[in-house]
Structure formats: structure tokens, C-alpha cells
Symmetry: C2
Subunit: 466 residues, 2 copies
Amino acid sequence: MLGIKLVRSYELSLVRQLYNQLKKLIMQGQLNANEKLPSTRVLAKALNVSRNTVVEAYDMLFTEGFIILKQGAPTTVVEQVSIKQQAVVKKIIDNNKPFKIDFLADFKTGQGDLKLFSIHLWQQMLVKGSQQLTKHQLGYLSPQGVSWLRSEIAAWLFRSRGLQVADTDIFITTGSTQALNILADLLNKKVHSFVVEDPCHIGVLNIIKNKQYPYTGCVVDEQGIQPELLTHKAISAVYVTPSHQFPLGGILPAKRRVQLISLARKKDFYIIEDDYDSEFRYQGAVISPLYSMDAERVIYLGTFSKSLFPALRIGFVILPKALQPQWLHFRQYMDVQNNSFEQAALAEFLQSRRMDKHIQKMSKIYGERRAFLLNCLKQTFGSDVAILGDNAGLHLVVQIQGKKFRDDFTQQAASKGIRIATVNDYSLEKAPYTDKLLLGYGHLTPEQINHHIKLLYDFIKTYKTS
Amino acid sequence: MLGIKLVRSYELSLVRQLYNQLKKLIMQGQLNANEKLPSTRVLAKALNVSRNTVVEAYDMLFTEGFIILKQGAPTTVVEQVSIKQQAVVKKIIDNNKPFKIDFLADFKTGQGDLKLFSIHLWQQMLVKGSQQLTKHQLGYLSPQGVSWLRSEIAAWLFRSRGLQVADTDIFITTGSTQALNILADLLNKKVHSFVVEDPCHIGVLNIIKNKQYPYTGCVVDEQGIQPELLTHKAISAVYVTPSHQFPLGGILPAKRRVQLISLARKKDFYIIEDDYDSEFRYQGAVISPLYSMDAERVIYLGTFSKSLFPALRIGFVILPKALQPQWLHFRQYMDVQNNSFEQAALAEFLQSRRMDKHIQKMSKIYGERRAFLLNCLKQTFGSDVAILGDNAGLHLVVQIQGKKFRDDFTQQAASKGIRIATVNDYSLEKAPYTDKLLLGYGHLTPEQINHHIKLLYDFIKTYKTS
């Protein structure tokens, strides 16, 4: 009857099947306005289902306003409820595609070796940490984050960097991207510029670009940002990586730190200090953050994406008091707060000092990989190769004598299956860095390093340099 | 020597202690530019520490540019590195305060009973779900979310609402707040207005207000939004809650659904359908989403904050194909992606059908609480009380004969320890809803309902209505 077909083995209930098909007939105008529907008894018999099934389907159509149900009167279709249904288009876009590319040699920067992180260990932390959660903590909480985690982060910053910070000044984030996103809105002074290091992390730049806020670069040298170049009249904020400049690898010297802070006080702007990978330093102690010099002018960004794993989505920001109320407001209307199970797991990881052991272990491994890569580069490229930057982090900057890498280098390398970036790819003013390559090695085993450098050598040999 | 004091029992290493104190002396100008520092041998002896401790501290100061270290020459302080240090202010702001208030009677809306959610169950899901994760999934993935979860959500929408949707059109979010935040930027056409229902969820309105995008209200009646009032020339998007209007509780009838979609096609705008709590319907089947009528004009928002718990921070959005590339771009620069352990846990929860059982169980409980509350209201207020809205969700709208609740009602109630909102609190045009109260009951046991309604009755009795 009415072309309706019901399938008993189907996952969808008979009621919903019947409802769907009747609704379709009505919407397509095959059952017209004011047209009578068969009685529940007749339709049930024709479809060989219980009368109750039809009653329920009719009830649904009535509740949603498709039909008129009146005792003693026939059931009729409501007026003006037909419309061309726009169903799901069959064409499937694979949105994951750009995230799936496999390279023969992958020198991507800023990622640790995820193969060495134990999923089992994190499961343990989740179970152990969440035993401390109250039922109240399953609900909406302060956007600032769970206080247990904040005090463990404060303790960790003190142990690892000698940094003294009150846990009430720490704000949990879902990572530095979120932090920068909020800070861009919070610090934007409209006609004033955001200043970023040049070269700098492109992701950081894109956050500001996306919002169409004015920005400008400040050229760095081998030591980092040069405060004497900050002659701009109006600055919203300055973004710096003083512990390990990205990508060039310099450590900002005390004199420039003092200059930068004096300038911030004089011109009334904030400094955003991104401490993205300073945990991993293979010679000497971890660099002391700029934040320790001025807790009212410096905003400190910390992340666990490099030290633990990116899909954790936990980072933090240390905020000057003046910015805290507005930060809470922005976070509240952005995504409210972090997941509480993951916060508890990280707090447990820090409190039990597993973090300290983990960093120690990974520093040793990354330090060995760095040394292996240096050796490999020297053996392959000979004396043509020069290394820049501090003995730290998860990537190297190399120069190869007599070689210039044009804008097409990255793409040409990719066509040969090699993922590699030049410093120029991270530069606002393209010219000055055509001779510098970035090699990420944190995620590579010695065998992979050997193999990848050979591929890179073969490619560079054939790459026409001018 | 130099007033330096080192404490062996201190958590901070002797090296960092020494470094910190020397740095402070330099920054404060007590050790002046070009001043000689004691030799490592002399200082080590004076402080009764190993010479290595002093060497390491000097190395740190050298690396960070505070001192000049030259073999054969005395160690001296660098020029221009003194600055007034701005340490952490002692004053502590308790940012958690507004989230901690305890009420004697709390009728907050939109929250389920967290006391009934088992932390142990979620621990199991985390462990079981994350066993399916690869090491690759600890890293940066597509902002769209883990594909396992997306296909389980598609299956769940089909089982629970008869909704047919491709998992490739589902985008995982950290909740509806995030979804609306991204959509506001994505759909904003500058001079055009966002249209929200009036009254509507204030959080939704605040997201648009915060961004300073133009908006306007469209007055709803007991059935929901009235498309014939959408006479605005230029509309960026229309936000609706057709399955259960918030806060009034109406179900949008088919005729208005058809009108709304026809209008969207004609005037070229998108409809944002927020399906925030339609899982919980105590009579009849779950309402079919508007999305099923037009997958190219309707954006569907789903959340697990009401059905599971808010601190999970997982929701999703079903996007028309035309919006997908830009969505990925916005999400990438907002916070990249969701945590992968929680995504796997939720996928496991859905796949194992624990979700179905959970919703069944909670629907029964909430339905009973609703019935209990209705009964309690009738017994307390007698025939003066009228109930509005569909038999669904986690809150009721009540009218009390002869009572008008002015703007000060909510605040006066709070001063008596009662958290309660009026519909007026959610209204853009204040006048029309002075006689309607909102009672959230999902989180209240029958005993609490009894107690809270008594308190409310006593308060309303004394509240001067004009």
C-alpha cells in the first residue's frame, strides 16, 4: 500500500521506517494537502504489522505537524508541508587526505617520537588520575582548569626551570594554538601591529593573518630577536621564542632580554614568550624563561605536545593579573574548558614524577639522535655542511656550502618523496635565508636518519642551485 | 659570600639556586657591569659546595648572556643587563569563585545528573577504546576527528533519530560552544544579521555579541520560531532549536520547517539546528531533525554534554559540503583537533551500545523526575500553576497565576539561596515573558525536588509581584 516497504531485519524500528516513508511521500507531494491517509487498521493489515506500529508512526507525524489526527475524523495531510528534499550528496570528500601523506624521508620539525610513547602508560595515568575526580568535576568548571593540575605544573616549572609561579596565574589550554588565538583577540589594539620574529613558526603567523589583524616581522639573527629594530610606534604584542628561537635556534642573551622588557614597559605592550621545546637541551641546564624577569609584561606559553604527544591537547599559559578576567571571558565563549579526565591524568603524571623520568629518557634519546644526525651529515656532505643554533630541541638548521634553495625546493623535494623545509619557508621577507635547511629528527631512528640523509644527498646533488 | 645562601634540602638543585641568586644580584645592579665575579674555586670554597656546582652555574649565566667567561681572564658582568625585576604579585585572585557557589535550591537548566554517571565506566571506555589507537593517532591528525568515532556517531544518529548521514560530513568538536564560535566566523556576512530565537540560550547570543557581529531576535511562540517574521533583507544565518525550543519547549511543526527551509533557499542563508537535548523525550519517539529535510542548507549541532557529561568536551557538527574546507581551516588555527583518547572512549561507548542503554536508563529517571516535579508543583501551588512545552528535555517552563517576575527576581531569589531563572532572563525583548519561570530538574532527586519547591514556594509567597 502506498508503495511502502518495511524490512524487519533492518536496524531501524518498523515505526521509524514507516514514519520515514510516509514523511517522504508527504514532502514529495505524493500524498497531497488534505488527502486522507488509510486508517491505522487498514494500513496495519496491508503492511502485515501490528496496529500499534502504525499508531506510533502516525503519532510521530502528528507531533511533527505533518498530519491532522482527530478522533472520529479521517487522518489528513497538513497544508503546505511539501518541499524538495535535499538529501545527503553522495560525493564524498576525503578531508583526511592532506594528513595522510607518506614520505620516503620525512624531516618534519617539532615532533617527538610517538612510537616511544606508551599508550598503556597513559591509560594507567587516566585511570589513576581520574580516581581523584569528584562527580562535580564531570560538570562545567572554571575555564582556568583543574587546580590539581595547575599546582603540579607550577611545581614542574620550578623543578625543571627554577621558575617561581603561583598556580593561580596558570591557565590550562588545549595547546599553544588556542592560547595564541585567544591572546590575538585579547591583545589586539586594532591599528597597532603584532610583531613576530622573522623567520618564525608559520602556524603562529597564520592565526594572526586569519583574523586580519595587522602584523609585522622583526628580523632575527643567530641570537634571536633584535629589540633595537622594534622601532614601530604602535605595537599590540611581540611574539618571541627566547629559549630556542624557531627556527634558527638562538638563545636570546640577557642584554636583549632587558632591552625587550624595558621597551615593553615604555611602549606599553605585552611580550608573548613561547617556550615550545626548551625541555630538550643536550648540554647545560634548561634556559630560564623571560617570564622570570617580568611577570606583568610577559605571557608565558607552555605545551605538552612536544614533551608528551600532540593529540593530548593540553598546554597552559601564565598570565599577568591584568589579563586574567578577560581571558576567562574569552575562553568561556570559545570552548568553555578542557576535558577533566585528561587534566587529571597529566596531574598524576607530573605528581608521580613520571614526567621528570620521561623527559630525562627522551632527552637522552633525542640528544643521541642529534649527535648521530650531525655525524651522518658530516660523513655525507663532508666539510660543505655547517650547523646553526643551540644544542637543543628537535630540529637542526644546516647550511650547505655553495647551495641556494629556491622557493621551489620544498615542492621539488616532496615530488621525490622527501618532506623538508627551508628557513625561507618560515620567513616573511624571503631573501635572506635561501641557504638554510631545517631538519627535524626527533621522530627518526638512527637507521631512518642514515637512509633519509642519503636520499636527501642524492636529491640535493641533482637540484639545480641557480 | 655576596650574601648567597644555598639550602641542600631544597627541591631546586644547588646549581639553580646559585644561578638564581647571582642572576638576581646582576639584574638588581648589586653586581655591576664589568664587575669581576669571584673565581669558581674561591666561590665554591666560600659556599662549601663542589667547584663543579659553581662552574655549572657560571655556564648558565654565560649561556644566557649575563657574564663573560674567558679562559685566563677574570669572569665579568655584561653591560646593560640590570633591570627592575617584576616578580609575581602576591595578591591571589580566586578565578574559580563564581563556579563554586552553593545554593540551597538549585533549578539550573541543561544539566543531567552527574552523580549517576560512573567514573569507573568512563575509565573502562578510555582503556578499551584507546587499545584501538595507533601510535600515529598520538600525533597531529585531521581537525575533522577520528574516523572510528565519526562512523559510530553516524550509526547512533540513525538508530536514535532515523537520521541518515555520511560520516564524512560529520566533524568532531569540543562542544556546541566551539561549533557556534567557528560558525559565527564562517557564516558572518558583515552587514547581514545573525538571527536567533527570542527567547534563546544566552550563551549562544553571547558568542555572537562577543564578536560584535550584528544580530537580531525572532520572537517564538509555543510552537517555536515563526518564519513569517523573518522579513529581514539580509541574513547571515538563523539559529533554531526545532526539536525542543530553548527555553519554551515547543516542537517546530512541519509547515514552519518547510517555510524556513524555503526561505533559506530563497534568501541564501544557512540554518543552524541545535539539537541540544532531544534524546530525552518521555512520550513518543525522538523528533526527526530539520537536517533530514535539507542537507545543503541545515547545519546540525550535536552534543554529548547533556547525554554524558559536560567535562567530556565532545560534540559534533554535520556540515553541508560547501562549508567543509573552510571549517577545517578555521578549526586548524583555533585548537587543531580533539584529544584522541577521549574520542576513542566515546567511539567504544557508542559501538558497544552502552550509549543506547545509558540513554534508556537516564530517560526513565528524568521522566520520573519530571512527573514528580509536576506533581509537587500541583500539590504546592495548586491550580495556580500551568506547565508549558513538550514532555521532553531537562527543564520545565511554569506560569504561576497572578504572578509577575520582574528583572530583580533572579537576584532576589539568589539572595535567598535559590538559583532560578525566568524566561525573561533569556529574552532579547524583555516585556513578554514576565510570567514564566524555568525549572531545571535533571540533576535533582525527588527528595531535592520536594525540598527545593517548598523553598521556592515560600520565596514566591513573599515576593512582591508589582
